[in-house]
Symmetry: D2
Subunit: 476 residues, 4 copies
């Protein structure tokens, strides 16, 4: 069962005496990108040291663990596994040894063709310790004829297309790589004499690093004792930045693709209000990701913004259910309505997506139970009709409600009085890409930046069917 | 070192086959009232069973632990220790054995005179296993001449005044007690054939119990196999409901003292806007407790509401600091500004209190660093000038900035362009108690509902000096 | 359920900068006296500090835990709970606060009348946090009119008879007390300028302390900054040293009651060979406690000593059983026969006691399965016919096989070809007390040094019935 | 740092519904062969499942962990790491995926030329996740042109010589392999309809399996749903069974190489008494491994056997040292003399080896301090003069005291009145191999069954220099 898909966050730092601990802080700030496992590899200039664990960053890294990460360079990873078999074996960074010496690697993205390459490699005698597409990269690099690691990386990704924001660490180098389409973000910053890289700028804010610029699509950045070296070895491709980072995945206080996530969401909300106004009293976000859009919607519509759903922030990763049935328990443990705000009101509920529809249905019901007279659901992006092959875990087409039902049918299914999705044009405009030249919108359009063979698609979708039903909804 | 003060939450359930697990869920919903330790005692009608632990509810109670809590009745407690010596010995519910059989007890509140009583008891041969004022109650009850437990409770609290919302569990009874002034909240609900009690109604919402009414000030509610029995054994006192529950401590989705917390906070914000308008662009809450008031302020003022500070929700109880200095690290790990929203703006920052002023100073600075042109701080209650003796952990007068500086001086200290505190009248009106007949406002007025002897006051304040400086600020 | 019985070990040290850590080492050496929980309380001259935990000493005390035990004095305790409800609440040393300040206490022994006193205390308003008889002592001391702690201790034990080797620790004193009959051992030693006390001298050996003498029956030893003060405040009683310490409980390398345990056991074995010779080939001990007697038996009889049963030393406290039945699994996980030695041989099996007979039966069967032609069981003490009320956990009379069956019947039950028990005279002679003036032999004679009322006996036996069946057999 | 050496134990079972749990029991019985990490891989006929951990078997496997090992086949491993960097990455069984599907592997032995092969593999693009020689095997197998796994195994070990008792598990087969010289033991047994394999028969005894025969040197045993298939694919070699298994490493109750370990040791002791009699009073073993030989020595010499050194069985893996110096602390925590037995005696101390001499020196001193008049040390094997390359961790030649000093000099170094080593002839006779045709005795003779190139030797010895000094002495 080869499960390549994951959403993750990466962080790296070079030339800092506190490298391991700053990596830990960086992962802390990126925790929303993956809560299932985390790891750090550091280099003491002679050898690499690895600590990986299951759970939250705050649970994995104690003083003891951090003391096992000496040296002035480190890379780290948080992972949200989308596959059924969650295991420490899959936790990154991976650390392997070969003829170029020790190499650590962590990856945000997905390599949709990796399973084909893996098959080839297996026939050629390669053995795998994980189910990850990332391990394929390590094998390809090890087998490259290019002597230098950078050459081998170039070699490898000339052959394997896909979405990858990747960090490599060796004894003496930190290498950051981003695929030519730039699907996933990767930011470059400076902290005193140290260079830092991270999936989002919120990691820089915490450690007081300064954002310099993005690692560009197609760029390889090599950081060593001489400084920073940049190259663009691959053929240029049309940019395909993942628009869902702005819709849902990134933190609102981050810059992603050089642009404020909060601003994008706010504009999505405004645009949504223009496209789908509602004859209602109050605008209520589904926290936390719906907040910025809801404020935008309220601003534009003139309706009152109200925090009508309160989130319980103490929910751990595991939760013991009561024996007796509690309706909508999974939603209830995380959200509670403020009856005082909702009772008797006509509510516009702002959310960032509807995937299977089951969670939305529970939330609508919860709001009705709290006394809402009407519930108008507004979604800050278009209907999700196609699975992602570039690093976001989405269910198969069969399970995507918008792939199977009309908007009216969905409204009926989730029990909403009305339902409106932001148009693709509106979304692109909110992200300041009115012509859609820069973003990947495949999940809304079914137009994939890299052609997906029907074989690969079928295969991936079949595998996706094994995913747990609620896996897409990690943070509610 | 007798440290009586604590903020806590309590939960109880009687006549439910899933009592232990529902208690666990109830504490889950009350986690914000205490994150340092938690415990549950259940009764299997023959014996009582206890599980206590340090940390979050989700960390303490596994399937194994819950299976050690059999029976159809249970009480539970979350605790935020305010004393230096945090220890499992202090975790509640306490469970003791005596001539009336086993009794478990948990307590939200404070008994300011308990230290005197404790001294008496010690002279009389009592031995103590904790430093808690709650243990004094157990001794007094054990020594009461009243044969029945309820009689002994009445006896005890005829002698010891203070703030107490308390739950007792015996083999066959659950007893809920609230002091005649009703300092701390205590709610009564129903779940099928079971009775439930909790500090706040959000615990009922999670388990789908229905709120019936409050346990009234001065009421003893006894729940046994016969049903519910109510009595009001003590002399009636003027109500002194803790207004700070509405300002800060409770969850906005709760009913506290029969009234929506969110509504109170919203009105505080509106009133604050009337009393202290600001020539500004945006209203930004300090999350999470400042959100409702900020929405109220924005509504009233017509200024734009913006979520300009984002909270990191993955912060665990312990956090490993970097070796190198990071400015305002403690605040930074929990809050991050959204530069896009703040840059170039004149910001009204809404918070619920200023205690020592040091945290406020860091937040103001953080907002300025994010590019705010002006920062106008507005506080949704009056200046805190006097310590609480009834269950809220406040530092000594010497450390309360508003007890020592004028509002102008505070503004200068925290670096705000202007500073406004909600007036006492405004606060009372927001809580629909315009004449101040129902609430305790001692922390703002220095008028204590129970006269505090100067000796006691000095003693308590001296002890308070031992508190950790940041202890008041548990949730930012 | 008031379960007073336990076998335990105690250790104390005064005036040593490494007190906490040496207490830990002392408990390490005494681990065989109790494997269920352990604890240490230290004094930093101002306050007492407590660490307790479930499990082995090596599991409970990490560097972190030991760092929480500052100061120059400490007492510690290992406990083997005999009661069904094992719990941290019962772990010693207890630490309480009262008008004399903080007092810590740990106890090896049993107070058979404590349950009566406890009843009185409860009627008088005392509350208990454990089921231990030890807590009764703390209450009596707290209620004593004697101002000084030593006076209160004298007071208390003038009233409460029983078996107690006890250590008290206060801010500035370590007090060691042994009951007038001296049931349980207690040794006094010196380590540089420090005094040490321990249940057995093996604890002194490890830390290189020198054995000075025993704390005598009826003696109170007070150690403070002035040195050591001894007194004998109670009426002298006939000594009643527990002979089972020499038979089974203590380590062979210890001096107990001033006499080598190994020497006693060796002589028991020799005497047993004289009393019950066997026409056999080899002598095999049931390890570890049967080894010394087996060597004695072999020496005297001229038969060959063979290590025919090997013990698995890696058995932890919990063990997961296979789903499928394995015959005699409980014994098998701990013992394995050496077929090469046993096959075809006539075996004399030396053990130190037969309690219920079920374990002996399994061992005999195991030896037969390994090919023994004959199995002759020899026990290095007389038949156990009466329960102990002084600190050794024995089952009720009903469950003691020797209380219900003749030696021939027991032999048949356990499947032995012959069975011989050492005579009482032989046992006493082996312990160099030929007239039986110094030892308690109640478990073999039913003659109790302190008269046991039939009520108390019935009560205790009834409670004993709740004990787990295998509890007596902690180390095989 | 490529550290190939290890002492380990393996266990496997096929066709049993309780496979995972029986593997756990098997490892339990083999715990003495490795205490640093352990692991089990099971097959549910579809996929393989892995659990590995650091520490004792009893610490790693809880009910939860065992429930994660479904299926009717399993292999397990205990490991005693000899390398500095102990890590979960090195714990076996390894589990990898390749074109033949999932393969798990565990290994007892050592492949001295694996580092050369590894270098070749790395040049050929292989990447390694551990430093183990075992991983080399997995790579070679994956790269073999033989389609079937068994063919690939044959291929691999045609190229790589060394010491290997190895278990492979796939979806549907358990394969046991032993090198043609048979360095390390491997036993085959039956449990109902299930086949079992284990390093020693003590693992069979615990689960009540019957010993059938050894997996023979050079044999491959394949167990699948059809039953057991045996083959001998490699050229026959002269047997080289590790004689140190009988001297020290195995449990005395095991059959190893089809012969009772206890019998060998007993005969070693007898022979030693003939070769090196002593004018002494008592024979004392260094427990536990010296016991059988000491009994033999006593039998032959007519001297008295006495258990003069008692072992502390509660020593965990980590131990916190006292701040103050305690002489010979490391030995003291594990052994304590019985003064009563030793005082005034002339002692013959029986041990199984002297490696660096430092531990022996401490024990001799301890025995003297306990009052011995004379200490005559007798070792039940010849002087260890050469390192092992076949799976026993020995230090480099420079550190082997017998490689550098004469017997007289060693006697002086360890402080013995006399010292005698069993002759090689005596040892071989005790193992019933008088001509030395069947055993490897390289550590005593420097004659290696497989020629060791001086390059390899130098390399290995250099690496060995990194070993911790006490690593050879795992069980005292």
């Amino acid at each position: 069962m080869y499960k390549p898909k994951e959403e993750c966050g990466v962080f790296g730092i070079f030339n800092n005496e506190d490298a391991g601990r700053l990596a830990y802080l960086g992962l802390y700030a990126l925790q929303h990108r993956g809560q299932e496992s985390a790891g750090i590899v550091s280099s003491d200039s002679d050898r690499l040291h690895q600590v990986r664990g299951m759970g939250y960053v705050s649970e994995i890294f104690s003083h003891d663990e951090l003391s096992r990460l000496p040296g002035r360079a480190a890379i780290g990873h948080v992972r949200y596994s989308t596959a059924g078999s969650v295991s420490l074996r899959e936790a990154q960074p991976f650390l392997v040894d070969g003829y170029r010496g020790q190499i650590a690697l962590c990856h945000n993205g997905n390599l949709p063709y990796a399973s084909d390459v893996r098959g080839q490699l297996e026939l050629d005698g390669a053995i795998f310790s994980s189910t990850s597409d990332t391990e394929v990269v390590l094998h390809k690099i090890a087998r490259s004829r290019e002597v230098d690691l950078v050459g081998a990386i170039i070699d490898t990704f000339t052959e394997i297309e896909g979405a990858y924001s990747m960090l490599f660490l060796t004894r003496d180098r930190l290498i950051a790589v981003r695929d030519p389409r730039g699907f996933r973000p990767l930011c470059l910053g400076k902290l005193g004499d140290s260079y830092v890289v991270a999936s989002e700028t919120c990691a820089f804010d915490l450690i007081e690093a300064t954002y310099l610029r993005d690692v560009e699509p197609g760029e390889i950045v090599v950081i060593d004792s001489e400084g920073l070296h940049s190259s663009f070895p691959w053929a240029k491709e049309k940019a395909a930045l993942c628009i869902f980072e702005h819709v849902y995945f990134s933190r609102p206080d981050s810059l992603v693709f050089g642009r404020s996530v909060n601003k994008s969401r706010h504009k999505m909300g405004r645009q949504l209000a223009r496209e789908y106004p509602a004859d209602a009293d109050i605008v209520v976000p589904v926290p936390d990701s719906g907040v910025s859009a809801a404020i935008g919607y309220a601003s534009e519509s003139g309706l009152k913004f109200r925090f009508g759903l309160v989130r319980n922030h103490y929910v751990g990763r595991t939760f013991i259910e009561p024996k007796q049935s509690i309706r909508h328990f999974g939603v209830k443990i995380k959200l509670n309505p403020v009856r005082d705000l909702i009772e008797g009101q006509r509510v516009v509920l702002i959310d960032d997506s509807i995937v299977r529809g089951t969670t939305s249905k529970k939330i609508v019901q919860m709001v009705r139970n709290a006394g809402a007279r009407e519930v108008h659901v507004r979604i800050s992006c278009p209907p999700t009709i196609a699975p992602c092959f570039y690093g976001v875990d989405t269910p198969t087409r069969d399970e995507l409600i918008a792939s199977n039902l009309t908007v009216e049918e969905i409204a009926r299914f989730i029990g909403a009085d009305s339902l409106g999705y932001l148009s693709l044009e509106g979304l692109l405009r909110a992200c300041e890409d009115p012509l859609g030249n820069r973003h990947c919108t495949a999940c809304y359009t079914n137009n994939y930046p890299i052609p997906v063979t029907s074989a690969a698609r079928t295969k991936t979708e079949r595998e996706e069917g094994l995913f747990s039903r609620e896996s897409f909804w990690p943070r509610i």
